[in-house]
Symmetry: C2
Subunit: 399 residues, 2 copies
C-alpha cells in the first residue's frame, strides 16, 4: 500500500485481494487492524519498563549449519533467508541483539499468528495453578454448549495439550478442509446472502465432530485454542484479550498495546488473532524464563512455567510426525523441544517464534513473513541458529 | 455486548444492527475498532507525561441556567442530562475535575466524531505557518485529481474554513442526502455485488459538484475535511493518522495510542474517524491554550493558535444560522465562539467537545453519547455550564 490513493497494483485490502498471499503477506503482517475489526489489549497507562541493553555485534557472524544442509550459514544470513521482519535476543534479561526489516520497526506491531495459542494456554495453566480451572474436568461440565460436540467428553487438559480426537482438517492446501468453513464462520465481515453456516467461533466449535479417542495422539488443530478461549471466558467472565491485558500486558512493563482480531460477535481469536510489539513478546519470554517473576514481582506461580517446560506426552506427540521437532512435545499450547538446554517455544505460521532457552538464559522473539505457511520450511535456518547462539552465549558467559 | 457469547438481544455488530442508533450508540462509541478496520495513531514508546492534579470537589455544585430554560441546574446534574461518558477539566494545566460514566474510563478510548476535523484543520494550519502549504492556492493545483470537482477552483483556505459551495446534503434525516452515498463509498466492508458507486473517500470527493460561489457562506460539510486530508497527504506524503502521531501524539506526553477508521483503501477518515483517550484530548487542548508549547517545547508556531482563535468570517458563518452559537465563526475546522473569554472549541456530534477558554485558562474535554445527533440539543446544558465553570475558576483564582 503506497500513495494517496495507492494505485491499483499497490492496493491491499478487502475482500478479494488475498492479503495473506506472498508477497502481500509481507505488508499484511504489520497491518492486520487496517483490514479487520480488532479488540485492544491495553498496556495500561503507566510508564514502560525499559529493557537494559548490552548489544553484541559479534552475533551476526555466528555460524551454523542449516538442517539438511552441508553449507554453513551465518546468523546474519539466516535473517534474510527466513524472511525475518524483526528479531530480538535477550541474554540474562538484557538485549544483546535487535534487528528490524520488512514492514516492522520497534514502534509497530506484527501478527503473532499461532503464538497466540501459547498465550491462551498460558492463561489456562495460570488458572489451573490458581485453582480456578480444573484441568481434569470434562469440557461439557464447564461449557454445556459444547456437550454434543467433540469437545464435550474431552478433558480441559486434552484441549490444552491438543490431544483431542477431532474430525477437523487444517490442511490449507485442501479447499475442502474444515479450516475454510471455520474461517468463514470466524470472518467478522458480513456473510454472503446465501450463507447458512455457523457465525463466529463459538457457533462453529459446537459443530466439530469427534473422530477417534481423546488422549491418544497429538493433533495440532486451532479449534482447540478457541475452545480453550471459551472455557477461560466462562470460568473468569473475561475474554482472552482482557485477561492478557490484566494478567500480563499491564504488569510486564510493555511498551505497546497489543490487539486481537475478532469475529462478528466480538470474540477474540484465541487461536491466532494476536498482533503485538516485538519487544513486548520478548518481555513475555523473559517472564517465562523467570518462571513468572517480573522485576521482582510474581505475576503467577512458578509451577506454571515448570509444568509447561516439563512438556506433554512425547509418545502421543511423536505420532504427529514433526520432522524438525524430533523427541518434542506440546504442553498448554507451547512447543517443548526436550533438548539439552530445556528450550520451549511459542510458534506461529510463517516463522513467528518466542524461543526460551533456560540453560543459556536466552530469549529470542522473532516475527517473520516467510512465503511458506509450514514451519518445517523455516526451521532448518532458524532452530540450529538459535542453538548456535545459545552455545555462543554460554561460552561467552564462561570466558 | 455482554456474555460469552452475547445473547442476540445484547449483540451489537455488522452489518445490520445499526450500531450508531441509541442506545447501542452508548456502547459503540467506546468500541469502534471492534466493528471496523482502523489505523493506529502511535504515541511512541516513551513514558507519558503525567497531568498534575488539584481536584476541586466544589465544581459539582456550580449552578447555571440551561439555554432556553428558567430552571437552574448544577454542573453535576448536567453530566447525566447530556449523556456524558467522560469529562475532564484542566485549569492552568492542572486537572481540577475528572469523571467517567457509560462505557468510558481513563484507560479506554472514545469516538471523537467531528472533533477529528479540528485535528485535520490544525495540521493544515501548522503546514501553512511552516510554509509547506499555501492556503491561497487553488485545490486543483495541489490535487489535480480534484480539478473537475467542486473543490477544484476553491482555495485551500475555503476548504479549511468550509466556505466552499458544494452540492452536498448532510441531513441525516433525509434518506436521499449525499451523506449516505458518501458513507457507502467510505465503508471499508466489501461492497454489495450490484454496487457501482465510488470506492473510498478520494474517489467520492472527485464526484462532489459545485453549487453556488465559494467563499460566500459557511457550510458545514464533512467532505471538506476529507478533501483537506487529501491535500495534506499530497503535500507531506503522509496521511493524517501518521501526522497526528508524529506532530502531536508522540510529542504531547499522551497516555494512549489513538486510532482512525479507514476506508477500503486504508485512507483514514479525516472528517470523523478518530477515537482517543479523554486525557489525551485534554493534553491537546492544553497545547492549544499554550499556543503550541508543551512542557516548554514548541511543537508549532504560536501564530497557528492565534490564527484559529481569531476566527473566520462571522458574516459568512451567520448565514448558516447556528442558534446556539450566535456571533461565532469557524476557522481551520475549529468553532470560535467570539465570546468575552475568547473561547474556541472542537465539536463532534452527540456532544463531543474540546473547549478551550484562554481567559479562564481552562480546558474541557468531553466525550458523550447523547441520543440526538444535533449539538443544538446538548448545547443548552453544556455551553452555559462551561461558562459558569470558567467564571468560577476565574473567581477562585482572584480570591
Amino acid at each position: 500500500m503506497q500513495g494517496f490513493p495507492p494505485p491499483a497494483e499497490k492496493l491491499i485490502g478487502q475482500p478479494d485481494s488475498n492479503y495473506f498471499s506472498f508477497p502481500k503477506l509481507r505488508w499484511t503482517v504489520c497491518h492486520i487492524r487496517e483490514l479487520l475489526p480488532t479488540r485492544e489489549v491495553s498496556r495500561g497507562l503507566s510508564a514502560p519498563t525499559p529493557l537494559n541493553r548490552s548489544l553484541d555485534s559479534s552475533i551476526d557472524a555466528i555460524r551454523f549449519t542449516p538442517l539438511g544442509s552441508s553449507e554453513p550459514m551465518t546468523w546474519q544470513q539466516s535473517l534474510a533467508a527466513n524472511y525475518t521482519d524483526g528479531i530480538i535476543v535477550l541474554h540474562k534479561g538484557r538485549v544483546v541483539y535487535e534487528r528490524y526489516a520488512g514492514c516492522l520497526d520497534e514502534q509497530r506491531k506484527h501478527a503473532a499468528m499461532s503464538m497466540t495459542k501459547s498465550l491462551t494456554g498460558l492463561l489456562a495453566e495460570i488458572l489451573v495453578a490458581e485453582g480456578a480451572l480444573d484441568d481434569e474436568a470434562m469440557v461439557a461440565k464447564l461449557v454445556p454448549e459444547l456437550a454434543s460436540s467433540a469437545f464435550g467428553d474431552a478433558t480441559v487438559r486434552q484441549v490444552m495439550d491438543m490431544t483431542t480426537a477431532l474430525d477437523f482438517s487444517e490442511d490449507y492446501a485442501d479447499p475442502n478442509a474444515h479450516i475454510w468453513r471455520y474461517s468463514a464462520a470466524a470472518n467478522p465481515l458480513p456473510k454472503p446472502a446465501d450463507y447458512e453456516g455457523p457465525v463466529g467461533y463459538f457457533q462453529y466449535l459446537q459443530t466439530v465432530a469427534k473422530r477417534g479417542t481423546h488422549g491418544e495422539a497429538f493433533g495440532y488443530r486451532t479449534v482447540n485454542s478457541d475452545a480453550l478461549g471459551w472455557i477461560i471466558a466462562r470460568v473468569t467472565g473475561k475474554d482472552v484479550s482482557e485477561l492478557v491485558s490484566e494478567r500480563l500486558w499491564q504488569r510486564l512493563g510493555t511498551e505497546q498495546d497489543a490487539y486481537y482480531t475478532v469475529d462478528a460477535l466480538g470474540t477474540p481469536f484465541a487461536g491466532g488473532g494476536l498482533s503485538a510489539g516485538l519487544r513486548d513478546m520478548a518481555r513475555l519470554g523473559q517472564l517465562m524464563l523467570n518462571e513468572g517473576l517480573h522485576d521482582g514481582v510474581r505475576l503467577f506461580p512458578a509451577e506454571v512455567v515448570r509444568a509447561i517446560r516439563a512438556g506433554g506426552d512425547k509418545q502421543v506427540f511423536a505420532k504427529a510426525g514433526y520432522k524438525t521437532l524430533p523427541g518434542g512435545s506440546y504442553r498448554a499450547m507451547w512447543w517443548v523441544l526436550h533438548n539439552a538446554n530445556g528450550a520451549f517455544a511459542a510458534r506461529g505460521v510463517h516463522g513467528q517464534t518466542l524461543y526460551v532457552d533456560p540453560t543459556a538464559e536466552m530469549v529470542i522473539a522473532r516475527f517473520a513473513s516467510h512465503p511458506s505457511a509450514k514451519n518445517a520450511d523455516n526451521d532448518p535456518t532458524s532452530l540450529p541458529a538459535y542453538q548456535a547462539l545459545a552455545d555462543y552465549l554460554v561460552d561467552r558467559a564462561i570466558r
